[in-house]
Structure formats: structure tokens, C-alpha cells
């Protein structure tokens, strides 16, 4: 097929351009912009992970905040040096078996993903017997239970004090490298037979079961993979913020990610990526809405919180008037670009992926 080679060529060129662009950004962005840029990548991973379970498998899960917290704590505790741990745990010493553990970033990050994936698997086996809103509320419950445990397990997590002074491992390359790897993985997964099984469960569970798909097994698999990705994002977030505490993983955090997924289109990888970047960037761009001086203790004429009103109103408008979000369930493809005339047409009719 002629068009395949054209598409492959275009993909190759776009990848090169993308990497070149990352180099340019690395050189030109100032520290502040770079922080936002890194946050975009972390939110991309979070949105993709939530979209895998909510959009592609059709299971409404609200447990991401807690799972993210689990990943963040696992990664942080593995990557901190014993000296840093002793500094942090001044109220009550850390459990001895955790004190001397000190791993480089990559193994810590993978361990965070695997541990969160394991916990996700456990939760999935328990919770996925429920459906729809019951599943949502049960996963939300698990998220809160994780947060409460993080707050109270003082000798392991340092409780409400949180962990401070984590090494700033999450560079632009780590953040965007992970985001790209996750995207590629997810695209391949969705195109595989597993992805088709996920989508068939979303579209009609009973028909999927009749076609011989192990519905429960597939749901658990999807939930586990989603948790794994969420744990990775949590680990990156921990070493991006360098300070974590259980309050950050209150279940409202899940709604931030849900906002991104709904705006982008429930069931579209492209949509999630675009929306993650757009929302993260506009959260910063719209900061002026909150007023010029917002120092917390100082009363100003600004109206702190107006920015979030904007985003929540946007969510309402989208869900009421344009439920499919930005992309619906469609994806970016070169052929789609060709169809709307942005690329020269070649070859016969093709189907897009």
C-alpha cells in the first residue's frame, strides 16, 4: 500500500521533529515554563491512564487520586537516601527495613508502578464485581482509604507531615520520555486484541461475553494496567514537586484528571493528550483570574478560586452540550488530515486506525 509508506514516512519525520522540538524547548524555556511543561507530561500520563479504564473499557473508576498517592509514596521512599529519611521522620523514626533502602530513580519508578499495579489488581478483583455508579463509588472509597492509611501510617509514610526534600529527578526528558513511552504503549495496546476486547466490553458487555471474551479477566487487566500507569505518574509527580503529603491525594484530585479526559473525549488517546496539555497550560495562563495578590494570609481584591470556577463550568458545558468532548472516540491519523485537505491525497480509500 502506497499510503502506508507515506504514513510511515510522515510518522518518522514527525517523531524526529518532535524530538528536535524537545531539544529546542530544553534550551529556550525558562525554569517556570519548564515546570509547567513537565507537568503537562505528567498529566498526559494520568489522563491516558484514566482514559484506558473509563474511556476504553467503559468502567467508571474514580480511584486515581489514591493510586497516584501510592505511586508517589512508593517512589519517594525508595529513592530517598537514608539521611533524607532520618531528616524527614523526626516525629517518629521510620521502620528499620525501609531506612536503608536506596535505589536509583528508574528502579524506584518501576517499583512504584508495579506496586500500584499490584494494589490496583487487588482492588480490581474486589471492586470490579460492581458496575456503573457502584463501581465509581467503591473506587472512590478505596482512594479515600488509601489516603487515610497514608495519613495514619506514621512509621512508613511520615503521616500528615509528608515527605520533603525529595531529589528533583523528574527532568524534562524523564517526564516527556515517560509520556511518550506510555502513549506508544497505549496505542499498541488499544490496537491489539486486548484493546479490541476492552472496547467490546465498553460497547456491550453481554455481547462481548457471548463472543467468548473473559469479561472479568479483561476488566481486571485493564484496571491493573491503568493502576500501573497511574503509579508511574505518581512517582514522576513526587520527584517533580519534591514535597508530597497525603492531602494532595484527596479524591477531588481525580476530578481534575476526569476534567481532562472528558474535555478531550472519553475514549480518545489524541483527545486526552491534547486536553492534558491545553488544560495544564491554561491553568497557568488563567492564573490572573485569581487576582493579582493571592498570598493566602493577605486579603486582596482578587478572587481566589475563580480559575477553578471557569474549569468546572467548562466541564458542565461540555458534558451538557457536547458530550463527545474534543475528539469523541476518534484519533489523530495522517489519513484523517488528508481527508480534510491538510495533506495531499494519495492512494485509494483507506480506513484510519
Amino acid at each position: 500500500m502506497k499510503s502506508m509508506s507515506r504514513n510511515a514516512w510522515l510518522t518518522f519525520a514527525a517523531s524526529l521533529a518532535g524530538i528536535a522540538l524537545l531539544f529546542v524547548f530544553e534550551e529556550t524555556f525558562d525554569r517556570f515554563t519548564m515546570q509547567i511543561f513537565k507537568l503537562c507530561a505528567i498529566n498526559v500520563i494520568l489522563a491516558l491512564s484514566l482514559n484506558l479504564i473509563n474511556g476504553f473499557t467503559g468502567l467508571f473508576s474514580l480511584g486515581h487520586a489514591g493510586l497516584m498517592g501510592l505511586g508517589a509514596y512508593t517512589c519517594a521512599l525508595l529513592a530517598m537516601t537514608p539521611a533524607q529519611k532520618e531528616d524527614n521522620f523526626f516525629l517518629q523514626p521510620i521502620v528499620p527495613w525501609l531506612l536503608d533502602v536506596h535505589l536509583p530513580f528508574l528502579p524506584s519508578l518501576l517499583a512504584a508502578g508495579l506496586f500500584t499495579g499490584f494494589v490496583g489488581w487487588l482492588l480490581g478483583v474486589v471492586a470490579l464485581r460492581l458496575r456503573d455508579d457502584y463501581l465509581a463509588i467503591a473506587t472512590l472509597g478505596f482512594s479515600e482509604i488509601i489516603r487515610v492509611v497514608l495519613t495514619n501510617a506514621q512509621p512508613i509514610t511520615n503521616g500528615a507531615l509528608g515527605l520533603k526534600g525529595l531529589p528533583r529527578y523528574t527532568t524534562m526528558w524523564w517526564a516527556w520520555g515517560s509520556a511518550i513511552a506510555v502513549t506508544v504503549f497505549l496505542v499498541l495496546l488499544i490496537k491489539s486484541s486486548y484493546g479490541r476486547a476492552f472496547k467490546s466490553i465498553r460497547d456491550n458487555e453481554i455481547a462481548a461475553e457471548a463472543m467468548g471474551i473473559d469479561v472479568f479477566g479483561m476488566k481486571v487487566l485493564s484496571f491493573t494496567i491503568s493502576s500501573f500507569l497511574c503509579g508511574i505518574a505518581g512517582g514522576l509527580l513526587a520527584h517533580y514537586l519534591t514535597t508530597i503529603d497525603p492531602k494532595q491525594f484527596f479524591f477531588l484530585k481525580t476530578f481534575d484528571i476526569l476534567l481532562i479526559v472528558v474535555l478531550g473525549g472519553v475514549g480518545s488517546i489524541t483527545g486526552s493528550i491534547v486536553a492534558a496539555i491545553a488544560v495544564t497550560a491554561s491553568m497557568e495562563i488563567l492564573r490572573f483570574l485569581d487576582g493579582p495578590l493571592n498570598l493566602g494570609f493577605l486579603v486582596t481584591n482578587g478572587t481566589p478560586g475563580l480559575r477553578m470556577v471557569f474549569f468546572s463550568a467548562l466541564l458542565m458545558i461540555v458534558i451538557i452540550f457536547r458530550q463527545q468532548g474534543l475528539m469523541g472516540t476518534s484519533e489523530f491519523s495522517w489519513d484523517a488530515l488528508a481527508r480534510i485537505g491538510l495533506l495531499p491525497r494519495r492512494g485509494g480509500k483507506e480506513r484510519d486506525g
Partner: protein, 340 residues
């Protein structure tokens, strides 16, 4: 901001709910000791138990009041009204502004707050839920989450994120000592109000035509429509009743824990939803039972296993998951077959 000056005094001393819970427990423990030393007739544990039982009864009745709103909406629309906890918050704030800014007597302020909150609840259904009634359940649920998110953020902007101290009329704050047990008036008033409202509600649902229509809609919305039931009106009435109960709950909650903040509805909201599920969602009696049970479990655990106090907010969720796994219909719920 002129109100800031007026309210500054009210804002200062606003203890957190956790703090208040702790004080409750401490108070009861102190009482134990004094009773023990003076009379020595009542055993210490029984005393603690009775004290906590009174506390649990009032907290549980509050939970019940709010759980009824969840259960009624779910029974009719199969929708978890995530914004119900925020309606509860609005009820508390409106009563506060009535007294604090417009200097109304507390009873007038409370009545107005209940009326306005009811209007708000009905309006919310019109704006956020009705356009999506025929959409997939996930969409309408996201809409509920979005509505809750929007109300919370609006409340932060309009009401200010800093906690406000709720002015408690003397009538409610008075403290009685009955047989060595300290009881604030409000702790007695809450179960009474709940009982009266429950009686009225049961009368409406079982003895009026509107109630009959509500039961019809909750059994089968399509069949009810065919029987010439005005479904939209019934849904509005349901939201009105639920929101009024939430507003009363919010005001009573503010009387018991006199501290208002924009996010105060979230945790009670979640817990009351859990209470509704535990009791069997769709069943009014179940919501009351679930609310009382949840209040009892929460306070008894704090009283008798104080080392678990930090895990207080997790109890409800653990209970929820256990109920969902072992008896998904709840204690009093009816089994509804899954349709293909």
C-alpha cells in the same frame, strides 16, 4: 468587602470538626471519672456508652436526614446526586448569612434558607440533570460530579474559603445534665426534628397522590409515564424534598458543629450516600437505618478504640465496600434483576 468587618468576630474561633469530636470524647471521659468517684454506682463503660449513644443518635439522625435525599433521587432517577452534599453546605451558609448580615431572627433565617435551598436544588436538576436524562448513565454521573465541583468552587469564590463560625442561638447551645450524661439541646433537637420530618415524609409518600406517583416513577419510569404521571413534575418534587431535607440537615449540622466552610459538604455527603447504600438505596426506612448505624459505628469506635480515631473517615468507606460486596441491595433494599 464590607461584610468582612462585620463577620471578622464570628470567624475567629471556629474549631474544626475533628477538634469538636475530640472534645466530645474528652468531655465524656471526664464525666466518667467524676461519676465514678462520686457515686460509683454506674460502671464507667456504661456511662461512656450512654454518653456516646446520645451523641451517636444525634449524629446518626443528621446522617439519616441527608441520606433520605440521596435515596429518593437514586430511587427515581438511578443517579448518585454528587451535589447533594453541596446543597447541604448551601443550606448552612444561607442560614448564616440571614442571621449574620441581614440580622434576621434565627427561625426566619432558617425558613428562608430552607426555601432558597429547595429552589436551588430544583434548579440544579433542571439545569444539569434534565438535559441528560436519556444519555448514558456515565454522562449524567459526570454531570453530577461537575455540578458538585462547580458549586464547591463557586462557594469558595462567593462565600470565601476561610471557615466561618456559625452563630448558635442560646436555645440550642444550652447544656443539660441527665443522669450524669451531658447533653446539648441541639443533640436532643436533631433526633426530634428528624423523627417529625420522617413522619411527614412517610405520610407524603404513602398517603398522597404525589407520593403514589413518586412510588410509581421509582418502580418503572416508562410505565408511570404511560399512566399519565407527569414524570418531570415528580422528579422536581423529589429534588425539592431532598434539597429541603438537606438544607435542614445543613443548618442542624452547623448548630452542632458551628463551623462553615465551602467544602464542608463533601465528607458528610459521601458518608450519607454510604448510609443510603448500607440501608438499601431507594428505601427511606433503609436510609434512616443506615444513617443511625453509621453514626453509631463512627462514634463508638472513637470512644472505645481511640487509637483508631485517625481512621475515622475510612470506616464509612470500608463499611460501604463490605456491604456492596456481600449484600449489594443493602439491609432493607429490594433486589432488582439485571435486565439484558
Amino acid at each position: 468587602m464590607t461584610e468582612a468587618g462585620n463577620l471578622a468576630g464570628l470567624r475567629e474561633a471556629a474549631p474544626s470538626q475533628a477538634e469538636l469530636d475530640r472534645r466530645d470524647t474528652e468531655k465524656s471521659q471526664k464525666i466518667d471519672v467524676s461519676v465514678f468517684s462520686v457515686s460509683g454506682s454506674i460502671s464507667m463503660d456504661l456511662q461512656t456508652f450512654l454518653q456516646q449513644f446520645v451523641n451517636a443518635l444525634s449524629l446518626g439522625s443528621l446522617y439519616a436526614l441527608i441520606a433520605i435525599g440521596y435515596t429518593m433521587v437514586y430511587g427515581i432517577l438511578r443517579l448518585i446526586n454528587f451535589a447533594h452534599g453541596d446543597i447541604f453546605m448551601i443550606g448552612g451558609y444561607l442560614a448564616f448569612y440571614g442571621v449574620g448580615i441581614f440580622a434576621m431572627p434565627w427561625w426566619l433565617s432558617a425558613c428562608l434558607a430552607i426555601a432558597l435551598t429547595t429552589v436551588f436544588g430544583v434548579g440544579l436538576e433542571r439545569a444539569a440533570y434534565r438535559p441528560l436524562r436519556d444519555s448514558p448513565r456515565i454522562s449524567i454521573m459526570i454531570s453530577a460530579i461537575g455540578a458538585s465541583f462547580l458549586i464547591e468552587n463557586l462557594a469558595i469564590v462567593l462565600f470565601d474559603a476561610r471557615p466561618k463560625a456559625f452563630p448558635v442561638p442560646g436555645l440550642f447551645a444550652a447544656n443539660h445534665v441527665v443522669g450524669g450524661i451531658h447533653v446539648a439541646s441541639v443533640s436532643l433537637i436533631i433526633p426530634l426534628v428528624t423523627a417529625v420530618l420522617l413522619a411527614i415524609l412517610l405520610w407524603i409518600v404513602h398517603r398522597t397522590r404525589t407520593g403514589m406517583a413518586m412510588r410509581a416513577v421509582s418502580t418503572d419510569i416508562e410505565a408511570a409515564r404511560l399512566m399519565a404521571v407527569d414524570v418531570d413534575r415528580i422528579v422536581s418534587v423529589t429534588f425539592a424534598i431532598g434539597s429541603a431535607l438537606a438544607a435542614i440537615g445543613g443548618i442542624l449540622f452547623a448548630l452542632k458543629y458551628p463551623r462553615l466552610e465551602p467544602l464542608m459538604g463533601i465528607m458528610p455527603g459521601m458518608k450519607c450516600f454510604i448510609a443510603a447504600v448500607v440501608g438499601g438505596i431507594g428505601s427511606i426506612g433503609g436510609a434512616v437505618l443506615g444513617g443511625l448505624l453509621l453514626g453509631l459505628i463512627e462514634l463508638m469506635t472513637i470512644a472505645f478504640l481511640p487509637e483508631l480515631t485517625g481512621y475515622k473517615d475510612a470506616f464509612a468507606f470500608i463499611l460501604l465496600i463490605a456491604v456492596l460486596l456481600f449484600k449489594p441491595t443493602g439491609l432493607l433494599g429490594r433486589n432488582q434483576g439485571e435486565k439484558v
